[in-house]
């Protein structure tokens, strides 16, 4: 065992920090909770791309850096620490690019990967549907082959950043006769095709978090299909592991954690035993979660899809984020209820925002219940229910 980073990794971490601090100093953006998923800032994404920090783990022949997942985790950990607005490229960088690299045709790799790496392809996820949440394989959106095209009809929902993206990743049924897991294919399609309609959804914090996306006779070329027809669900399972793997599950509201600690010090609350105890407990839980997530990256570096490991770290981490937000609200007492733009609002309203916002994170990318099912059955070998 070795819990240290290489000198090169330490230098890399410092380089990322310097970059982010410089960005903040220049006033390009303010650290925010959930900025990895809600901070759409094409300029930031472009500047990250210029440093070669998108597609860090992808093969060099497609413009990636061929670096390790631990390296990428160092990068994303720092982005989250500083609450950087990385939403334009986050999804493509985290899971779609890897999927294209694993299953795409040579042409798709050459077209799409460099676009993501340059920070030009913002990809929204079209997985869930009104009737297909945890039971994703029951999805009804159809893609019917018609000559050299597919015709897509249906509705996707919970698409993060749906208004901003220029591509959709889509799971659609290509064989309605087949058993439900075996008739699904993956597509990546431009977001502005005729017949696509996006309707924003406002979340409990008042933010536009998602879109409903409607597909009405949308014609796409066959070349939009990724990998093998009708094997999309199996391909997507691996992608879901990647979706769950990262530090954003633990550090989405990290700016709140730092601000809360600072606040308790400034207001002499940190000397009260009950508050010390609560904050120390959060710190312990945070550090344990961080180790669980680094383990996931190491599993990926071994070339294995981090199935049960990512299920574990994601379920654990989203529960942590909720406890952090709860504790922050407790400590702030009546001030905690004040919204960010209210008179007297403490720590920029981060606590109340996160208290509300963190409730969604134990649902997206696999509910904690689904994740525990995975951990129990695939991880511990318990019989399926």
């Amino acid at each position: 065992m070795d819990f240290s980073f290489t000198e090169e990794q330490n230098r890399f971490r410092q380089e990322v920090r310097n970059f982010l601090e410089d960005e903040i100093k220049k006033g390009y953006w303010e650290p925010a909770c959930d900025a990895w998923i809600q901070g759409f800032d094409p300029g930031f994404t472009k500047r990250v791309a210029q440093r070669g920090w998108i597609g860090l783990t992808w093969p060099k022949e497609y413009g990636g850096q061929g670096r390790s997942y631990v390296d990428r985790l160092i990068l994303t950990e720092e982005m989250l620490r500083y609450g950087a607005p990385a939403a334009c490229h986050w999804f493509a960088d985290r899971q779609i690019g890897g999927s294209i690299a694993a299953f795409g045709t040579e042409e798709q790799k050459k077209e799409l990967l460099p676009k993501i790496i340059r920070g030009e392809a913002y990809i929204g996820l079209g997985m869930s549907e009104p009737g297909a949440g945890s039971d994703l394989a029951s999805l009804q959106t159809r893609a019917i082959e018609d000559g050299d095209s597919y015709i897509i009809n249906g509705q996707k929902t919970w698409t993060s950043g749906g208004s901003f993206v220029n591509y959709f990743y889509l799971l659609a049924r290509t064989d309605p006769e087949a058993p439900k897991h075996r008739g699904i294919s993956e597509f990546i399609i431009p977001a502005d095709l005729p017949g696509i309609k996006r309707i924003p959804m406002i979340d409990i914090t008042g933010t536009e978090a998602w879109n409903d996306v409607f597909f009405d006779e949308v014609r796409v070329p066959r070349t939009c299909l990724i990998g093998e027809k009708n094997r999309g669900f199996l391909q997507a399972l691996q992608q879901l592991d990647y979706e769950r793997s990262g530090m954003e599950r633990l550090m989405g509201n990290y700016p709140l954690f730092e601000a809360l600690i600072q606040f308790t010090k400034e207001h002499k609350l940190s000397q009260e035993p009950v508050i010390r105890n609560k904050l120390a407990q959060l710190q312990i839980e945070f550090e344990v979660g961080r180790l669980l997530i680094y383990r996931v990256a190491l599993v990926m570096d071994e070339g294995r899809a981090p199935n049960r490991e990512a299920a574990m770290s994601k379920a654990y981490s989203t529960a942590f984020e909720q406890r952090l937000a709860n504790t922050a609200m407790e400590i702030l007492g009546p001030y905690g209820q004040l919204l960010g733009d209210s008179k007297l609002a403490p720590i920029r309203g981060l606590a109340v925002y996160s208290y509300l916002g963190s409730k969604g994170y134990s649902l997206q990318a696999g509910t904690s219940e689904i994740l525990k099912n995975i951990l129990a059955t695939r991880g511990l070998g318990l019989p399926a229910s």
Binding site: F3, R276, L382
Partner: protein, 374 residues
């Protein structure tokens, strides 16, 4: 970064598991628990021959030249097997302290005896009162007189003192912060030892020093400046306990998952019910959290890096996680788990003892708070 064992450590783990599976079945544990001594001389000697006592000591004292991380692997297996006996006292509490603090002469004198399994050592640290592991809690006094020190007072919860040959005693040599560590003869008639009956049936003693003279030559490390050393002893012991906890909990998880696969109710294995699955998933998460935080601290100790914060995180987590894991294990095992027919009680009782030993979660949360600058 690497979170897997080396090939050598895997071998050590396997050897230890095979050996303990054979030599330390629960029948043996039960028998030792009921005995007065709390260990088997025969098994002790076999462990010495395997090189276990000497594992983490330099070759020149007869040791195996491995490090604390290797020892951690062994301690985990001992936790898994519920191995009774004075290994922890002799090696982790006393032996490594002598290695840290002793003069070359002292090391030459004592370590080979420990490593060969000839002598048993332990540490007398905690005392009356409820604030242990703090310098102010040390009331046992050692007064300099005629080239000797005279130790007077009562130590509590001293493991294996009743069978020990040597006893490291942490005593106050100056009113404020003057703490000194002494190496004393545990067989002296000036030491009065009473066995306490504990939840884990491990052998914790009350040790009364009745004006016991100790030669100056038996001071370990710097006189009056021992508390820093004692803090290191506590840190190392806490991590050692974490290793035992990890072994304990991993076994409890394995047993529980096996039971959930086999036990049928309503015509199906109870492990097919989601609530049981989620309990098991929660247990696995707690165990992995304990494992990685423990090995992180063990690795840092092994590397000689400052790790007050990481030790505190590991022991706080392992202490709390152990209680959650054990509670769920009992819930899943149902009534059989609360009988002595089943092995679970060995783990339950030991997990509680380990949770308390060398600082519980409350104690370490305060340390974490300080490390956070609160």
């Amino acid at each position: 970064m690497k979170l897997t064992l080396t090939e050598e450590q895997e071998m050590l783990k396997k050897t230890a598991r095979d050996f303990l599976t054979e030599k330390c079945p629960k029948k043996f544990v039960k028998q030792i628990e009921q005995s007065e001594t709390g260990y088997s001389r025969e098994l002790w000697q076999e462990m010495a021959e395997l090189g276990w006592m000497g594992l983490a000591f330099p070759e020149k004292y007869g040791g195996g030249d491995m490090n604390f991380l290797d020892l951690a692997v062994l301690l985990e297996e001992m936790g898994r097997a519920c191995l009774p006996g004075p290994f922890f006292s002799s090696v982790v509490l006393a032996g490594l302290t002598i290695l840290d603090l002793g003069t070359e002469e002292q090391k030459q004198e004592y370590l080979p005896k420990l490593i060969r399994g000839e002598k048993i050592f332990t540490l007398a640290l905690t005392e009356l009162g409820y604030h242990n592991y703090d310098a102010s809690s040390i009331a046992v006094e050692a007064t300099a007189r005629d080239g000797n020190y005279i130790i007077k007072g009562t130590k509590l919860f001293v493991p294996d003192a009743h069978i020990a040959d040597y006893l490291l005693c942490v005593a106050r040599t100056k009113p404020k912060d003057g703490i000194t560590v002494f190496l004393t003869d545990a067989k002296s008639p000036k030491i009065n030892c009473t066995l306490l009956k504990t939840i884990a049936r491990d052998k914790l003693c009350e040790v009364v020093f009745d004006q016991m003279p100790v030669p100056k030559a038996n001071v370990l490390g710097q006189p009056n400046q021992g508390w820093n050393a004692v803090q290191r002893i506590i840190e190392r012991a806490a991590v050692g306990k974490c290793c035992e906890i990890v072994g304990n909990l991993q076994r409890v998880l394995d047993m529980t998952v096996d039971y959930a696969k086999e036990r049928k109710q309503f015509d199906r294995p109870i492990g097919s019910f989601q609530i049981i699955q989620h309990y098991c998933a929660d247990m696995a998460t707690d165990v992995d959290g304990a494992r990685f935080s423990t090995y992180q601290a063990a690795w840092m100790l092994s590397e000689g890096l400052p790790c007050t914060r990481e030790v505190a995180i590991a022991k706080a987590w392992a202490s709390q996680a152990s209680q959650r894991v054990i509670a769920l294990a009992h819930q899943i095992h149902g009534a059989i788990g609360v009988t002595i027919e089943h092995d679970l009680h060995y783990y339950t009782r030991r997990a509680k003892a380990a949770e308390i030993a060398f600082g519980d979660a409350n104690f370490y949360r305060e340390i974490v708070a300080k490390e956070m600058g609160l």
